[in-house]
Amino acid sequence: MRKYPTLLVGGVLLAVAPLTLSSFVLSLLAQAAVLAVFAASYDLLLGYTGIFSFGHALFLGVGAYLAALFLLNGHSLPLAMLAAVSAAAVLAVVIGAVTLRSKGVYYAMITLAFAEMFHIYAGMAKVTGGANGLIGIPLPSFIAAPVGDYYVMVIFAVICFGAMYFFLDSPTGRVLRAVRDNPTRAAMIGYNVPLYLVIAQVVAAVFAALAGVFLALNQGMVYTNVLSSNTTVNALLIVVLGGIGTLFGAVAGSLIVVVAGSILANYFPYWPLILGALYIIVVLLYPQGLMQLSFKRLGTIFRSNPAKEPNVSAGSDEGSDFH
């Protein structure tokens, strides 16, 4: 129950933000909102199912490119979203079927190879505009202005986060966590583990594709970079900084990477280098994200076997199928 006041305050703050903030900050916030959804969909895999993907950009890219193509050809936005979602779901099933029998570590590499194949294809094919990408996407009028863009992206993010929250809270979502913590036990109880792994991949792919559609709307163009592994690394950065397996941590992580990043980059010439180092430190010392800052842990780096965190979601020895 005590969640509601916080939600209300947050909602009001988001709603009145355009009154006080410059349009530059608003556009950053809009971008952060979209990336937060993408990162959260990555967290569905990494934090809640224990799947380590390195090709999640594929689904963002498919969503963005399909949205751009549909809008450029005069189709409506809902149709574009439908196309993006169905294409991502089909791809996720195919990749899931190929990787079903492969152990965790193989999954990361296979997804990377698939995503990179699409990345290279998008850079060469005529339909995707080659290396130039697709530009001049006709935008609905309410998105063209910075304030409208901000509201659309924030509302989109709120709806997606709500949907993901309820999905994770549903019986299916709980089974996913059981599979993450101990796949053998989940199978023994009678759950069809491979089926649930595919479900997680499809749901994550669908949300990533939706984020892709709105990224295309937010940017007004799509460029091959959206499919590159840097995009996946960005999602990983956001999730790790915000806290693995904490759905809403993606919001904090996204604010750090996008908003703080583009402001701090003006003051620190080596910002990308600092971000890389910060990421390493967070993985080493604060596996539950920057929200769990505590200086006691700083000492653990010099001990060879730090005590395990009780609630670390992914990566516990018996939990991950990483061997």
Binding site: V98, A108, I110, V233, Y270, L273, G276, Y279, L284, N305
Partner: protein, 291 residues
């Protein structure tokens, strides 16, 4: 296809295989022994290429440049193993995530030091020409790559098969816990192996630079993907599998690339998918015992 054409393409494939082998062998052994999926392997490869380029342009001594490239990568690898990977021992997912951070950091460091644009890396005089093969010709540099690949293959095979440390590596791949129980200092073995893998990656980068005649900051990622495909096909941790995977991919690139250049990327991925559907652990999977 005439016989001389076939021979030239075959040798080209062999040289590509040699490069892939140099890039992938460290990745495979490190994973086999330590369970670490090293995403920074491509960045180590690239660091070797950049350091070698700098030394070669400063001194004109290519063998020295290759050695320096290997040593620079080995040093980076050793520091990384001690500072970032050892504290996370036994937690492979977090180790893999840390190596992604190191990859980001090294990629960015290369850009800060050498700038974001391409830098040319010319070939050493004695290796610059061409050698005639019947009616065709192949560049001396490709023959040199085949030689380097062969020498590293023989040294590594000899090391793994008949040295004390090689035997410990082989035992550790099967069961590191039991090895430690027998009184072997596995921490030291891990550090040594990681350094060795990084050294080979650095050497690979150093000889790769003059092959494509340039170095650029995106080099690490493309090599990483190729190495991944090689070890997935060959089987992680299997030395023979890495050799087989490199030969398969190298030859495929050469022969398919000759027939239809655009197809090779797709074919690598398709080949990988087919292998995984038939043998999910790769063609020559290692029997591993884990407590």
């Amino acid at each position: 296809m005439s016989l001389s054409m076939f021979l030239v393409i075959f040798l080209e494939g062999l040289s590509a295989s040699a490069l892939l082998f140099l890039a992938a062998v460290g990745l495979s052994i490190i994973f086999g022994l330590m369970d670490i999926l090293n995403f920074s392997h491509g960045a180590l490869f690239m660091s070797g290429a950049y350091v070698a380029m700098t030394i070669f342009h400063a001194t004109g001594n290519f063998p020295l440049a290759v050695l320096a490239g290997g040593c620079a990568a080995a040093l980076l690898g050793l520091v990384m193993e001690r500072l970032a990977l050892r504290p996370l021992r036994g937690r492979p997912l977090y180790q893999a995530m840390v190596t992604i951070g190191v990859m980001l950091f090294l990629d960015q460091l290369v850009i800060e030091i050498w700038g974001p644009s391409l830098i040319s890396f010319s070939r050493w005089g004695p290796l610059a020409g061409m050698t005639a093969i019947m009616s065709g010709a192949i560049s001396n540099y490709r023959l040199f790559l085949i030689l380097v690949g062969l020498v590293v293959f023989l040294l590594m095979a000899g090391f793994l098969a008949s040295s004390r440390w090689g035997a410990m590596v082989r035992a550790g791949v099967e069961n590191a816990g039991l090895l430690e129980g027998l009184g072997v200092n596995t921490g030291l073995l891990f550090t040594f192996t990681f350094g060795l893998g990084a050294f080979l990656a650095g050497v690979g980068g150093a000889v790769y630079g003059p092959f494509i005649r340039l170095v650029d900051p995106n080099l690490g990622l493309s090599i990483l993907i190729d190495s991944f495909i090689v070890v997935v096909i060959g089987g992680f941790g299997s030395f023979g599998g890495t050799v087989l995977g490199s030969l398969l991919i190298g030859m495929l690139q050469a022969f398919i690339g000759y027939l239809s250049p655009g197809l090779t990327v797709m074919l690598n991925v398709v080949l990988m998918a087919v292998v995984l559907l038939i043998k999910p652990d790769g063609l020559m999977s290692v029997r591993r015992w884990r407590a």
